[in-house]
Each structure stands twice: as structure tokens, then as C-alpha cells.
Amino acid sequence: MAGPVRVTAPLLDVLEVFLQAHREGQQLHGWAILKATGRAGPTIYGILDRLEDADWVTGQWEDQPADANTPRRRLYQLTPTGAAAARHLLVARRPATRGRLARQPRPGPALLRRQPGLGGGAP
């Protein structure tokens, strides 16, 4: 299994957010990840590059917005491989994550988009 080259604190933050969204069957876009992690944009997109290259995350374009001039957002979700690896990594590096994930409130609908075909229950 290919993995992100470097494990850093921002990477773990992003994985936590992705795991939370994965548990709830939701897809994340860049702005949602930025807000949830509080990290800088270039940092987040650098991590997304690494995660996509490692096949931990896949992205797809959202449907064309009503206003054709509005640029489309790209929505990301963990792959099954990525989810397992992220869980493993977080448990190893941040033992408190499991409990925190269970306690975290669900992100608001403005930030996240429900992923079609997933019920939103625990994986």
C-alpha cells in the first residue's frame, strides 16, 4: 500500500477531518477542510496532493452550479484503503483520536455535502 511520504501534524489534522466525514458519509471540499483544520490553504492542498497520489483520497467535481460563471468545487472522500490507513495512523500517532472522533459534533451542512449512496452511519 502506498502511503503519504511524510506524516506531519497538518496531515493528521486533515485525516481526522476526513475520517469524521467518512463516518457520516459526507464529502469534503477544500474550504471545509480549511475551516475544520484551521490550517493554511497551500498546506491543505499540498496534503491533498499527497493523499491523492497515495490513493488514500479520491476527488470528483460537484455538479455545475446554477450560475455557470461560478467555478466548480472539487469534493473529496477517503477511499476504503485510505480510511483503513488513516484510522491506523491516527490510532498510532494520536491515541486520543478515537474518543475525540466519537465526541465531535457533526459539521454543518454549509461545510459538507452528503455523499450519495452512503447512509451516514459508522463504517
Partner: protein, 214 residues
Amino acid sequence: MTLRQLAIAVAALVVARLGRLTLRVSPRLGVRLVRWAARLRYRQDPERAAMRAEELAALVDERPGRLLKLLTGLGFALHALAAAGLRARPGRMPPPVARFIKGLAGLLVNTLVAVLTYEAIHIVAPSGRWIIWAVVFVNVSAFVVALPVRRMFHVAPRPELGVIVGFATAVVIARMIGVGVGAPAGSAAAVVTIVVVGVRGRRRRRATSDLEAR
């Protein structure tokens, strides 16, 4: 109203006008900056560059507030520039280009230091013991400006040191006789110095290569 007060009032008006204009165009500017940053960041991967360009434009679009949109664009642009700079390490560039870039960066920083030093001296000693401060300024200027200029044009130290000391002395003398000089004069003098030193360095290199050819 004195001329100085009038100048400050005009400058304030210009700054306010520029500020409003910047705010008005900042969303578009932010989008342009992130698109450019994506192209720069992913030069080796055009497909990802196009993808990120649209995605980042959407990100800027979502940011609340005009200023934040611009700041987002600036952040991505600066990051892409830094990444591009790291990729293009001097070792990979032709040595003259690398030397010129390093020299130019040093010159910009050092010119700023020289000008600030000059302004600080003027504040500390507006009159009176100016000779001591003038000597300090000339020496500081010569030191901080001569080094990067030497690196840029790869010429021997003595001639351009003379030019630098000359221009610094001229600035001090102008100050002494009451001509209003400051940052603009320092910057202009730095530009003149670059041109003079560059022309002299090129002539010297040509002369050297002619001699070697013979």
C-alpha cells in the same frame, strides 16, 4: 498650509483611492492569483494544474470578504513562488543567472537597509553633529550595497566601492545643503549605481575575454 502638509494630504488621498480600487478588484485579482499559482505550482503536471486552478478559484469564491479573497490569492501565489524557487535551486541554473538573482535579492534588501539607516540618522541627528553620522552612513551604505552589487556583476571590489561611496557622499552633502532627499533619492542613487557598475563590469569582462582570445 505648508508644502509638506499639502504633500501628506495628497499622499493620503492617493492611498485612500488606491485602497478603494484594490478592494474593488480584489476578488478578481484573488482568482487570477490562485490560477497563476496553480499553473506555477504544477508546471510539470498540466492536468492537475488545470484542476487546481478551477478548484482554487472556487475556494476564493467561497471566502467571505473582498480582502480575504485577495489575501487568499496572495498566500497561494507566494507559496507557489517559494516552491518554484526551491525547485529551481541555484545549482540547476546557469551560474551567471543564479548569481544575478542572488545579487538582486541582496541588493533589494540592502538598499532598504541603507535607506532606512539614512532616515534613522536624519531623525537622530537632524542637524549639528552630522559629520559623524555622515561618515557612519557612508560606511554602512558602502558595506551593504557593494557586496550584492559585486555578486551580481562579478567585478572586482574597488571601482564599485568608489561609486557607492561617491553616491552616498553625494546624498549626505545634498542633505547638508538642505536639498530634500530621502528614500526616493536613495533608491534612485541605487539604480544609477547598478547601471554604472553593470556597464563597467561588462566592459571589463569584454576586455578580459578579448585579451584571452588573443
